[in-house]
Amino acid sequence: MLDSTQTLGRNTLQRLEKLGRSCLFILRVLTGFPDVFLRFRLLTAQIYSVGVLSIVIVSVSGFFVGMVLSLQGYNVLSDFGAEQTLGVMVAASLVRELGPVVTALLFAGRAGSALTAEIGLMKATEQLSGMEMMAVDPLRRIISPRFFAGVISMPLLAALFSMVGVIGGYFVGVDLLGVDEGAFWSQMRAKIDFHDDIINGIIKSFVFGVVVTWIAVFEGYDALPTSEGVGRATTRSVVYSALAVLAWDFVLTAMMYGDK
């Protein structure tokens, strides 16, 4: 009894300590903000590996998600004779929810895990300590460019996802199922508001970008410097990112659309 209480207490303290470490860590990363733009090369290299290499997976999944939404939506909406609103349904669900959320989940799997593994391995092979020995701050040289690359890439990828998704929905809805093309676009444009839907979607994807990249770089930096530790850190990075994205999505949705 006493033992289990002690374990609970120790776990809680460890979690809190980790949370505190991650907050201090992110503050130090954020202070590296000016350096990132002084060494622009580092940032572009990271945007390439984090963003450009994710384009294919994001656009392909976006296309399929859009097609599935259109197909399922058509089945339900045609019962009410409301196929004309298919475009609204596809675009609203993509721009508000699926675009940011699914992109963030893919991003955590495709880019976040790679970041964690890379940084964790750097730590395990003592490259980070080596840098410190040379009086180079690894946080500014290694972590900051990766963090900002993730934060910049995420909204762009989410916008790409939504766009490709709408095109996929258009393809299935209009070309295959025969919804009227004019109604598809005009209803969409009448119902989707730029500020309420598009801007809020971008804010969401920005927040998810911060959350996912933060977790990824912190887990890598905080990993035990062994091969097992790096493996665990990579798993934790993906799991925590997915949970954090879904939880934050609820909070953000409640804040943005809750009072209507």
């Binding site: 090369r41 572009t44 290299a45 945007i47 390439y48 963003g51 450009v52 384009i55 675009a91 721009v95 890439s153 909204p155 762009l156 990828l157 916008a159 790409l160 939504s162 766009m163 490709v164 709408v166 676009w185 969409m188 444009r189 009448a190 989707i192 508001d193 730029f194 839907d197 598009i198 971008i202």
Partner: protein, 198 residues
Amino acid sequence: MQQSKVLETWVGLFVVLGIVSLFFLAMKVSNLADLHVKDDSYRLFARFQNVGSLRERAPVSMAGVRIGRVSSIRFDNKTYDAVVEMRIEPQFNTIPTDTTANILTAGLLGEQYIGLSAGAEEAYFKDGDEIELSQSALVLEEVISRFLFNKAEGGSEKKDSPQSNPSEDDHSEHKTKGASVKDEVVTNADHKKKSGAR
């Protein structure tokens, strides 16, 4: 060096792709392209007793064509009316001053919008004018309750007839709907007596 050039080109393409997607979402998917007409549009006001579920940014249309949007709805606490401000696009500047403003519903359950039906006056509305003739929103609950009320009234009239039906075969029966209750009771009693005697 060559390597980093390729890399930078890819990053550049990525950023362009992202911005193009945003532009697509803004222009093609959302209503941003329709919003900036506000600048040189002119205002019209209309008072309604009840605006129903009319919302800001609802369309204002004439003959089914959208000519503007509702820009604000406020409550006038002196006259207890709703004052609706509309923004009409500048090219539609020949709306007669005896035009009627109705709050209509798109489809059976669709959203509400303002429909203007043109009058015959020679003078035209200018910025800030008020539309004098207006018709309130059709609130579905009111319509249903009126319908049910009428139905209930009609129903009670019909209820009388089956009561008088048993006495139809009675030769003394030439009762009308306006007959007094006393009469009815008497005829009913008569009828009972007769049927008992049979």
